[in-house]
């Protein structure tokens, strides 16, 4: 900068200032602007990341408690009068649960109060007893201490989501019920422990009995089919387009098509599935088979694009060397180029599958959104998928389902993290820089 003798020239020509002075005059302002601009940028990153943090915080703070569930220990006498050993399905197990509860609190006499008392334990308790008798008929006539799941309102109370301080008429648990729970608490018969039901059962209308196994199995079937179809087809298509295809208009069209398909909204693929697979080919509704086909069509462009990039990164010298020693074009590609490009292709496929795992909208269109209690056993059984289960639970008004929705989201996110880390590991392990 030229500021060795600024004073003199300034004095000599006061009416026409030198450029440097104009620059210096504006400098503070410009540096201010520079600082602010940099700050805006930093804030943009900070805001975006704080949204991410907020999202995770909300989900985890809502969901972690679903991994614990309140259970009540009941002293059950398997009364031979109530149970028909030969036909447990027709025995009065709900009555047995009620009888047990009545014997716990003999002072409860009024009809309304009895009803309140019965509602403390889940309706699943009767099924639990039924299953026990079905497996061990010799239990009839004996007395056992059995842990049964508490009702979701009791569960919410135990987890602190229902406060004692709220007036009774605004609370889902009455004062009387609180007294009973307090008695159990004092005796140490009501406690929270790990919620295995959540991982071992299908959907249910009762939050305390609802689990993700059905949805998870549906997702696994759907994704297995997706992987099975989309990986070979995607790799083959990429191989043709990258290694064999002549450069002409038709190939250009195919390429533009693939790029566009990658950006078509997922719900449009759902419409395609509904119109073609279900209405035209009459494949079963709500089946992982159709879900897998639709997700295959959605994932293929992703896999093709990734596989092509992977093939492109293999240097031409490899091909030239193979061709030079007399290999045919197909031999060159299969024996030399493909093995080198395979890690990249696998990475792309895994990322595509991870995206398919979180996809919901197309599955809604093909009817994988039904209330399904049974765990699907095959590709044509009615099923739902994990994200669809989240959507279904999110619609339920019970407080217990909010918790379970968040917990299902946690499971989904953990799965996504695992799958994506697999992709990262694969890339770091096998990626070669030429």
């Amino acid at each position: 900068m030229n500021n060795t003798e600024p004073e003199q020239t300034d004095a000599a020509q006061p009416e026409s200032p030198r450029t440097i002075d104009i620059v210096n005059k504006g400098l503070a302002k410009r540096y201010g602007r520079e600082k602010r601009f940099k700050m805006y940028g930093f804030f943009a990153v900070a805001i975006s990341l704080s949204f991410l943090a907020l999202l995770f915080l909300t989900i985890f703070s809502n969901g972690y408690s679903a991994f614990y569930q309140t259970y009540v220990k009941l002293e059950v006498f398997f009364d031979p009068a109530d149970i028909d050993v030969d036909d447990p399905a027709n025995s009065n197990f709900p009555g047995l649960v009620k009888k047990t509860l009545r014997s716990e609190f003999p002072d409860v006499k009024k009809r309304k109060e009895k009803k309140k008392l019965y509602s403390l334990v889940s309706s699943g308790a009767a099924f639990q007893l039924q299953r026990m008798i079905e497996q061990q008929p010799e239990l009839v006539g004996s007395t056992m201490t059995i842990e049964v799941p508490a009702d979701d309102d009791v569960d919410m109370f135990m987890k602190g989501n229902i406060s004692r301080d709220v007036p009774e008429n605004e609370r889902r648990i009455s004062d009387r019920q609180l007294d009973w729970i307090d008695k159990w608490l004092k005796e140490g018969r009501i406690a929270k422990r790990f919620n295995t039901t959540f991982f071992t059962s299908g959907d249910s209308r009762e939050p305390e009995l609802a689990g993700i196994l059905g949805a998870l199995t549906g997702s696994i079937f759907t994704l297995a089919l997706t992987l099975l179809l989309s990986f070979p087809v995607g790799v083959a298509a990429a191989m043709y387009l990258e290694e064999f295809a002549p450069r002409n208009r038709w190939i250009d069209l195919v390429e533009v098509n693939i790029n566009n398909l990658a950006a078509v909204p997922s719900i449009v693929f759902g419409l395609l599935g509904l119109a073609v697979f279900i209405n035209f080919f009459h494949l079963p509704r709500s089946a992982p088979l159709v879900g897998g086909l639709v997700l295959t069509l959605m994932t293929l462009p992703v896999i093709i694009i990734a596989s092509r990039a992977s093939l492109q990164s293999v240097p031409p010298s490899i091909r030239e060397a193979a061709l030079g020693v007399g290999a045919s074009k197909v031999q060159t590609v299969l024996h030399h180029v493909l093995p080198l490009a395979l890690p990249g292709m696998l990475t792309g496929t895994i990322i595509g599958i991870a995206r398919a795992l979180g996809e919901t909208a197309p599955l809604l269109m093909i009817g994988m959104v039904a209330f399904i209690v049974d765990i699907p056993k095959g590709f044509t059984d009615p099923a739902t998928a994990l994200p669809v289960q989240i959507f279904l639970w999110a619609d339920s008004p019970e407080r217990g389902f909010v918790e379970r929705t968040s917990a299902a989201i946690i499971v989904l996110l953990v799965l996504l993290v695992v799958i994506n880390s697999l992709a990262v590991i694969l890339r770091n392990r096998f990626e070669r820089r030429w």
């Binding site: 975006s48 991410l52 566009n260 979180g358």
Partner: protein, 468 residues
């Protein structure tokens, strides 16, 4: 029963696979023995493996084709045969009743519970169906296995030292690759046809102008097409306006945040900060949209409602603002990573030039880097917009169902995707305008997003060529 189980499709395929494996071995050994007679393996045209593969292909492929064709045609032919055997009074039933009867028959065959009591003629038909199926399965098995054996035998006989086995195998392989690469075309055709046909059926009932320019949307009201006022209920303008508003809010959130993040990360941030922040930002893109929808409905919407309440505003619990805001968060990484790419592609020489003239860093960015990167950024923004328009789960969970024509972002509006989902989820008949309109909406959605994508890809590609 045993015969039936022996010839079930899965077993058949397994047998076919075994035969293919055996014929591979046959072909290979045959080639080797041919070579031995002539003295050495090098006298063969191709390596012995190729003779094996060729024999296996001849064994497996024709049989597989017949198998697939059979699986496609069998139910149709079976049904025709069974219907022909049914008594007159059932055969002349209207189509939907006939379908019910056929369903009963099929359920009987597969051993499921049937809707009503079993009539003798239905039971008879079911037995016939069973018999036909058994005969068909046996016939299929015989045909396929003999085809496989004949194929393997003849192709083995053809093996000589001049047979160009490798070329044959490679031709089949190339053909397979070509078939795989055309899937994209078929998917696109499938999308266009399926959506277009149903939409045309809809436009036969409701004129297209009423759909595109009508101001009233209440598809649940129109039960019959001849009902008074039913045509007025399919005006899609409020739905389009709602989509535009929510996507607009999303872009309003995402463009500044995404662009500034990209600028900061590529121009200002240190290496370590960048290596942490960039993957974290990209996590936002990997989170399933149903999670965002839950987040919007559970946290953001009540928050905005309460905020509005403290300022004395009446905010709907399904406000466009909540859905738009969360959608904006989802889109940030799309804009930031695409912009990051194009900003990094601007040659360093251009920055150096501006800096050498005395421009500050922010001036360089604003006056040199951004203008140079603008086409790429615009392309990224267009892609993000098409993403926002087609986004489904966030709006299904957080936006409203009622179609309000309003410019107030605090009110509930509905979008194209929400309407498609609500109209098509659940059991519905497929002839009423109520369900067909979903396909018309889908067609509009497809066309709009396709245009945005094509323009965006064109802009991006053109820009890339400039600096490469």
């Amino acid at each position: 029963m045993l015969k039936q189980r022996l010839m079930s499709p899965l077993v058949l395929i397994l047998i076919l696979l075994c035969l293919t494996g055996v014929s591979y071995q046959l072909g290979r050994t045959r080639a080797l023995s041919v070579a031995k007679k002539l003295g050495a393996v090098k006298t063969l045209h191709s390596r012995p493996v190729y003779y094996g593969v060729l024999t296996a292909l001849w064994c497996g492929l024709p049989a597989l084709f017949v198998f697939v064709a059979w699986q496609v045609c069998e139910p149709v032919i079976m049904t025709k045969l069974v219907v022909a055997q049914l008594p007159e009074e059932i055969r002349t039933l209207p189509e939907n009743r006939l379908n019910l009867a056929l369903n009963d028959i099929k359920n009987l065959v597969s051993g499921n519970i049937v809707s009503s009591e079993i009539k003798p003629e239905i039971e008879e038909a079911a037995n016939l169906y069973k018999n036909l199926q058994a005969t068909g399965n046996v016939a299929l098995g015989v045909v396929i296995l003999s085809l496989a054996l004949i194929g393997a035998f003849f192709s083995r006989q053809r093996i000589t030292h001049v047979l160009r086995a490798r070329n044959h195998v490679e031709n089949v392989f190339t053909f397979f690759l070509i078939a795989c690469s055309t899937f994209a075309i078929f998917t696109t055709i499938g999308i266009v046809l399926s959506v277009l046909f149903e939409a045309i059926r809809f436009f036969k009932v409701i004129p297209i102008s009423d759909f595109l320019f009508g101001l009233e949307w209440s598809p649940q009201m129109a039960i019959r097409s001849d009902q008074v006022g039913s045509s007025g209920a399919f005006g899609a303008i409020p739905v389009f306006a709602g989509t535009a508003m929510i996507s607009g809010i999303a872009m309003f959130v995402a463009v500044p945040l995404g662009l500034m993040s990209a600028i900061y990360l590529s121009e200002y941030a240190g290496k370590s900060f960048r290596s942490v922040a960039k993957p974290l930002l990209e996590i936002l893109a990997g989170i399933p949209t149903v999670v965002y929808g839950f987040f919007a409905a559970l946290t953001v919407a009540p928050f905005i409602r309460n905020m509005g309440g403290t300022f004395g505003l009446d905010v709907s619990s399904e406000s466009a603002l909540a859905a738009g805001l969360v959608m904006g968060i989802m889109i940030i990484p799309f804009i930031s990573s695409l912009s990051d790419d194009v900003i990094n592609a601007v040659p360093q020489a251009m920055r150096d030039g501006a800096l050498a003239l005395g421009a500050t860093k922010s001036e360089t960015i604003k006056q040199v880097v951004i203008p140079a990167a603008l086409p790429g950024i615009v392309g990224g923004v267009l892609l993000a917009a098409s993403r926002a328009i087609g986004e489904t789960m966030i709006v299904v969970m957080a936006a409203g169902l009622a179609a309000n024509l309003t410019a107030n972002p605090l009110q509930a509006v509905t979008t194209v995707t929400v309407q498609i989902v609500t109209l098509l989820v659940g059991d519905q008949e497929f002839d009423s305008p109520k369900t067909l309109v979903a396909f018309a909406l889908g067609l509009v959605l497809f066309i709009v997003t396709l245009m945005l994508n094509i323009i965006a890809l064109y802009v991006v590609r053109k820009y890339r060529e400039q600096y490469e």
